[in-house]
Each structure stands twice: as structure tokens, then as C-alpha cells.
């Protein structure tokens, strides 16, 4: 599940050395890029639809997500219920749409917390160097040693069960990954000629960090962030499956799978919709991440 995480780590450790900090080329033409990269186009289109479904769920969903209809329990897909109903007679399509809000919120929150802690930490220890860098790097290694979901379960157990706490926990697990990349990037950029030049002109440290180091070091982190959204999504689904994340009656894809699994012998069809929703969304984030990687660094060929 956290695999993308791992791939990112192995690649980012090798990447920085070869990336000279170039000045921004001619204006980036977003639509032309999107049209030339069909996988990115499809992923982005899918994610846009998902975001719209999440925002406008109250308008679009055919039923209220928690409305029970005890006459129609565990119904197969039909004209009234396109994806059938769950064990309480709730409309699966409606719950899927409301669940997409929780999935996207969770992914955004976890990655946001990871970025908020990891990026400043990485830049700071990389920029300052010395024993602070040494200490910071050991802390990063220590936290990275944990299986991410084990750490997330433990932190959720401490903070208290619920979606927001669970995603704060996942964000904690992300932070060292981002900090490590950001530190490595900062080290490369710090010694670049133009930063030396800016120092020579008397630029302040803060100016150096904000105007030169951050913009030039952030590129691999953007790729990492996109891939992490998939990891966070899978973590949310997993934690909600374990009832550590989204609490009933609120809907989440992982929670829907947990209920569907309970009644899998009676209504096997119920387990497909939430599973495919998770799979497609994770796939879309991963594909988009790979596309951005190729876009930012043309020397890497798409794998």
C-alpha cells in the first residue's frame, strides 16, 4: 500500500545530484502538455469529476447518504438504485459520492500535514547544516524506520479515533519522507553558483531560502506529493476499514468495504463499487505523479 512511498524514496535519493538548477524556461503551456500526455489527461479528467462529485454530492446524489430503507436491504443494482443498497438499505451510489468527499479530504489533509512539517524541516536542516543537520537526519531515519501504517494506527490510538486524527497520524508518517527529499535538494541548490552570487550581493538568509532555494528544490517534492495522495487515500480506506478512520454513519469507501465484507455471502456485488473507486483514484494520482515527474525532468523516460 505505501509502496509509492518507497519508490519515491529510492528514486529521490539518487535524483538530486544530476539536477542543475535551471532558470524557468518559456511560459509553461499547460493545455498543450495535457494534450500531449494522454495518461495525465485521463487522470486529471477523472480526478476533476471526482472532485465535482464530492463537492456537489448533496445536489447530485439520488438519495440522502444515511437514509435507510429497511424494505430494500442489500439490493443488487437496479433502476432505482444504480449500484444497489447496503445492509441498512442505504443507496450505494449516494454513499460512494459522499465517501469521495471524505477520501479527498483525508488525502489532502494527510499530505498537507506531511508538507507543513516535512518541507520546512528539510529546508532548515539542509540549509543550516552542521550538528543540527546531523540530529535532524537521525530523527528522520528513526521515524522512517516505522512501518507507516503501524505508526499511523499507534498515533491514532493516542490522539483518539476519527478521520481527522487518523490523517494527522498519516501526515506524521509522511513528514520524514518529504523532509529527507527536501534536505537533499536544499544541499544541492545551496552550493549552486547563483545562490553563491546572491549571497555575495548580500541577500539575507530568509531571502535566499524563499526566493532561491525553495523554488528550485521543490520540484521533486511536487512529484512526491502527488504520489503521496495515492498512499494517503489507501491509508484512509484501510484505517476506515479497521474503524479507526471515518466513523459511522458517515460514509467512506473503506468503511463501505468493511460492511460489504460482512455480508459478502448475501450480496457479493456490494464490494465492487467502493473497491474500484479506491483503485481508480489511487491509480489516477500515481499516473499523474509519473507524468509530472517526466514533465519536470525530461531525462527520465516514462517507465
Amino acid at each position: 500500500m505505501t509502496d509509492t512511498n518507497m519508490t519515491v524514496m529510492t528514486e529521490s535519493s539518487a535524483a538530486p545530484a544530476t539536477r542543475p538548477a535551471l532558470p524557468p524556461p518559456t511560459r509553461f503551456r499547460f493545455w498543450a502538455w495535457l494534450w500531449s500526455d494522454k495518461r495525465a489527461l485521463i487522470s486529471l479528467a477523472y480526478l476533476s469529476v471526482l472532485v465535482l462529485a464530492a463537492i456537489f454530492a448533496p445536489l447530485l446524489a439520488p438519495y440522502p447518504p444515511n437514509e435507510q430503507n429497511l424494505m430494500d436491504l442489500l439490493m443488487p443494482p437496479s433502476a432505482e438504485h444504480w449500484l444497489g443498497t447496503d445492509d441498512l438499505g442505504r443507496d450505494t451510489l449516494s454513499r460512494l459520492m459522499y465517501g469521495s468527499y471524505n477520501a479527498l479530504y483525508a488525502a489532502g489533509l494527510a499530505v498537507g500535514i506531511g508538507v507543513a512539517i516535512g518541507v520546512p524541516l528539510g529546508v532548515f536542516i539542509g540549509f543550516v547544516g552542521g550538528w543540527i543537520d546531523e540530529l535532524g537526519s537521525r530523527i528522520i531515519d528513526g521515524v522512517l524506520a516505522f512501518p507507516p501504517l503501524v505508526l499511523a494506527v499507534a498515533v491514532t490510538g493516542a490522539l483518539g479515533i476519527g478521520l481527522t486524527n487518523a490523517m494527522i497520524a498519516v501526515g506524521f508518517a509522511f513528514a520524514p519522507v518529504l523532509a529527507r527529499t527536501m534536505r537533499a535538494q536544499t544541499l544541492v541548490v545551496k552550493n549552486a553558483l547563483y545562490v553563491e552570487a546572491a549571497t555575495g550581493f548580500g541577500a539575507s538568509r530568509l531571502h535566499l531560502i524563499l526566493r532561491h532555494i525553495l523554488p528550485n528544490a521543490i520540484q521533486p517534492v511536487i512529484v512526491e506529493i502527488t504520489l503521496m495522495l495515492a498512499v494517503a487515500l489507501l491509508a484512509e480506506a484501510g484505517l476506515s476499514f479497521l474503524s479507526l478512520g471515518v466513523q459511522p454513519p458517515e460514509s467512506s469507501w473503506g468503511g463501505m468495504l468493511a460492511r460489504a465484507y460482512h455480508y459478502v455471502e448475501v450480496a457479493p456485488a456490494q464490494m465492487y463499487a467502493p473497491g474500484f473507486a479506491i483503485l481508480f483514484t489511487a491509480l489516477a494520482f500515481n499516473t499523474l505523479g509519473e507524468s509530472i515527474r517526466v514533465l519536470l525532468d525530461p531525462t527520465i523516460k516514462r517507465r
Binding site: A145, G157, S243, L279
Partner: protein
């Protein structure tokens, strides 16, 4: 300074020491993440004042944090991880009874992942650009995006409830009935292995392509060596270390996914133990499992380094 593998193990242990200190400190300080008074939180909703005072004393919340940490590490080093707040059983005993199930599952999944993923990566690299290569890389993309526990549910539905080839849930002790234990662990291990298959296939493919495209391989080709002997003698030997390192990194995420897979298959492993204990606020057990698993992961990485150094003396010299 000692040379060779023993010296390298010693140096690595020294490097691992700070990692272990940080990891144990993280586990220890989890208690401080609790909102409000941790003693009240741990004691639960209907605790008496005496119970709260007792817990405060057990955890030593009345002493400074660093003092508590060293006291805690001291008792951990003596094998005392505290007691479950519910069953009052020793945490270490609870964990040791369940750890074999989880480790069996992780090793099984790792082997499955290697046996399937490495050949796929070799196939894709040696047939770069063909339809087969594209199929393998696409399947690998699916492998990292599929929720393992969903795959587990599908496998149960198909092969346990449908064909009845495999038991749906449960586990058997590997020490008592090893073969039956493997049989029970098969479906969960398959569900768990997708990520390893995908990552190994991708990384072996790209590492092999890099080696096969390098100067010395071209020289060998020019000297007239056959493709298969180049691949087996030179290509794979050079990616072996990559494979091993990546497989080692996967252990970390396998323990992650095992937490959920154990819930799907009702396997009484440490993953099930930690999620159940987190739900029930049995905090000493949560801490104990996190601690034991992080140590297992750190030692696994050490083992990978030792294996790499044994196969390649250059590694031993450079670390």
C-alpha cells in the same frame, strides 16, 4: 578498524544506535499525544480515582519526561513492556504469541513477490518496448494502486466461499503444523504481495535496462558473447544488490499492509493486536507492538546490509 563483514556489522550497529534511540523515543512519547491527562485517557470512561492514580504511577507521569523515558527504556531492556489494561497479561507475552503469524505472512508475501516480480522485471527488460513489456508495466501500476485488503476480500469470495479451495479466515501455528500454516497463509500472502510484485518488477526492469545499456555490456556483446550468457552472468549479478535492497525496504510496507490484511482474514497476528488495542485504548499494547515492529524492521535492514556485504566485498568496505 576491523575489515570485512564483521567490521561492517559493527559499524552499522553503531549507526543504528541513534535510529533506535529516536524510534524508542517516538514510541515512548506517543503517550504525550493523548489529549488531556494521559492517565485519565488510559484509565477509560468509568475509572475510579484510585485506578487513575495507579496508572499515573505505572507510567510515572508524575516524573520529568526524560527520567520517564530512561526508566521506560530500562524496563524495556529487561523485557518488560508493561501489562494490557484489559487482560492484565504481560504485553511482551501477548506480542510473542502473535508475532510468528505476522512474520510468516510477511516472509511468505515477500517470497511470492520475489518469485513473481523478479522474473516479470527480467521479461520486461529483455523485451523492452514490446506488448509484453507494456502489459507488465501496466500490471505493475495496478499492483501499487490496488487496496490489498480489497484484493483479500475478492480472493476470499472467489477461492474460499466460491470454490472452497482455501479456508476463508483464521491461521494455524507454524510451529505445530507448518504445512497447514502455509495453506492458511496462502490467500492473505497473495493479497499482501501485490505491492512487492509491482515494485520489484519495475525496479528490476529499470536496473537491468541500465546495466544492459552500459559500456561494458556493449563491449561483451561486441566480443561475441551470447545474449543469455550476458544476461545471466553479468546483467543479473549486477542487479542482485538492487533486488535485495528493494526487497528489504518492502518489509516495512508489508508490516503496514499486514495490519489490515490480518483483519480481513481474522489472523491473530500483531497487526490485528495493534488495531484492536488502538480501538479499545489498550495503550501499553499499542506501544509494545509499535516498538517490536520497528525493531524487527531495523534488524531486517541490518540483515540486508550484511547479505549485500557478503555477496559483494566492495559494499563491506564502503559502509
Amino acid at each position: 578498524m576491523m575489515d570485512g563483514v564483521p567490521g561492517m556489522v559493527g559499524r552499522r550497529l553503531m549507526q543504528l544506535l541513534p535510529v533506535m534511540i529516536v524510534a524508542t523515543f517516538v514510541v515512548f512519547s506517543l503517550v504525550y499525544l493523548m489529549p488531556g491527562d494521559p492517565a485519565v485517557m488510559i484509565a477509560g470512561d468509568y475509572a475510579t480515582a484510585e485506578r487513575i492514580a495507579e496508572i499515573r504511577h505505572i507510567y510515572g507521569f508524575d516524573r520529568p519526561m526524560l527520567v520517564q523515558y530512561f526508566a521506560w527504556v530500562g524496563s524495556v531492556l529487561q523485557g518488560d513492556l508493561g501489562h494490557s489494561l484489559f487482560s492484565n497479561e504481560a504485553v511482551l507475552r501477548l506480542i510473542l504469541a502473535r508475532l510468528p503469524h505476522t512474520i510468516l505472512l510477511v516472509i511468505y508475501a515477500l517470497l511470492l513477490g520475489a518469485v513473481i516480480g523478479i522474473p516479470l522485471g527480467i521479461l520486461a527488460a529483455t523485451r523492452q518496448g514490446t506488448a509484453l513489456d507494456k502489459i507488465i508495466t501496466s500490471v505493475a501500476s495496478l499492483g501499487v494502486a490496488v487496496p490489498n485488503f480489497w484484493l483479500g476480500i475478492i480472493l476470499v469470495t472467489l477461492f474460499s466461499l466460491g470454490y472452497r479451495w482455501f479456508p476463508a479466515t483464521g491461521a494455524v501455528s507454524v510451529f505445530e503444523k507448518p504445512l497447514e500454516a502455509l495453506y492458511y497463509a496462502t490467500l492473505p500472502a497473495i493479497a499482501l504481495s501485490t505491492g512487492v510484485v509491482a515494485v520489484l518488477a519495475r525496479q528490476v526492469r529499470s536496473a537491468l535496462l541500465e546495466v544492459l545499456g552500459s559500456q561494458y555490456i556493449r563491449t561483451l556483446r561486441a566480443k561475441g558473447l551470447s545474449s543469455s550468457s550476458i544476461l545471466w552472468k553479468h546483467g543479473l549479478r549486477n542487479v542482485a544488490a538492487t533486488m535485495l535492497t528493494i526487497a528489504g525496504l518492502q518489509v516495512n510496507r508489508l508490516f503496514s499492509s499486514a495490519v489490515i490484511i490480518e483483519a480481513v482474514f481474522a489472523i491473530p497476528g500483531v497487526g490485528n493486536l495493534i488495531s484492536y488495542s488502538a480501538l479499545n485504548k489498550d495503550f501499553p499494547v499499542v506501544q509494545g507492538v509499535a516498538l517490536v515492529l520497528v525493531l524487527v524492521v531495523i534488524l531486517t535492514n541490518l540483515l540486508v546490509d550484511v547479505l549485500n556485504a557478503t555477496f559483494d566485498p566492495r559494499v563491506a568496505a564502503s559502509t
